[in-house]
């Protein structure tokens, strides 16, 4: 399937509020431990790093390991101080790189 993401932010954000940001991305997160029906080991293919930036500044990141389920889901919080552009970056095995950008308006 083509890469799909779900990004969830509150509809309206007041300055100073602690908001929850939730993200999912479609990815098999192949552990590297499984074998095919022919007995061959399926090589590892996971997302290793997730980063969230606000106007270019890193605000949150996560190191993911094979123990993270397929279609990895992350939820974290952010104290909204100013409006700006949120950038979400996923990187992983095989040169996997996916970026999503979302404008966050803070009142």
């Amino acid at each position: 399937m083509s890469i799909q993401t779900l990004i969830d932010l509150p509809p309206s954000i007041m300055r100073g509020a602690l908001i929850r940001i939730r993200v999912s991305i479609s990815h098999p997160m192949e552990t590297g431990y499984r074998r095919s029906s022919e007995g061959e080991r399926l090589s590892r293919n996971i997302i290793k790093k997730f980063s969230c930036m606000l106007n270019g500044d890193l605000i949150f990141s996560a190191d993911l390991y094979p123990a993270i389920s397929a279609n990895p889901y992350l939820s974290f919080q952010h104290r909204a101080a100013r409006s700006g552009e949120l950038t979400f970056l996923w990187e992983g095995d095989g040169g996997f790189k996916h970026v999503e950008r979302v404008i966050m308006s803070v009142q």
């Binding site: 431990y33 500044d57 190191d63 123990a67 389920s69 992350l74 919080q77 990187e91 970026v99």
Partner: protein, 154 residues
């Protein structure tokens, strides 16, 4: 009924004013040899203060392939320090590392969540390192059951 549209979504900006960090996929993440070793290395020399965080997970899990977990800071009068990073380690998975979450200085997060895989019934520990150089942990014992029917590749 359409899908819920993304809130605040816009077209990607053409001129990024910064370069994205480059994390080359390599062996810069050595794995711990044991559960205790993983905990010790993440904690470092920090003082362990009991309480302060809670690892939320169902005690009896529907399926070990996708297990929702969350780690929350329990607000206390003494704890005003922000979380620096949280790590989760598994006792009996093939690798002990599960996830490591880092909150940058100046930013705060009191609850994080994800979905993980658990190979079997085991202990799971969440350790939080705080900006004031303390840390705390919460450990749970979970029961993981196998699906009753073993399916092929159908």
């Amino acid at each position: 009924m359409t899908t819920q549209p993304l809130r605040s979504q816009t077209a990607p900006s053409k001129d990024a004013q910064f370069t994205l960090p480059d994390h080359s996929p390599d062996a810069d993440r050595p794995l711990a040899s044991s559960y205790e070793d993983a905990i010790k290395r993440f904690r470092g020399p920090r003082i362990l203060i009991p309480g302060r965080i809670k690892l939320n997970i169902a005690v009896l899990i529907d399926n070990g392939n996708t297990v929702p977990i969350s780690i929350a800071v329990i607000p206390t009068p003494h704890s005003l320090s922000n979380i620096e990073s949280i790590a989760v380690f598994s006792e009996r998975n093939p690798q002990h590392e599960v996830i490591r979450l880092t909150v940058e200085p100046g930013h705060s997060s009191t609850e994080v969540a994800s979905r993980i895989r658990l190979a079997t019934s085991q202990k799971l520990i969440a350790i939080a390192n705080f900006e004031d150089n303390t840390c705390c942990s919460d450990e749970v014992d979970v029961i993981v059951t196998l699906a009753a029917c073993l399916e092929g590749e159908g």
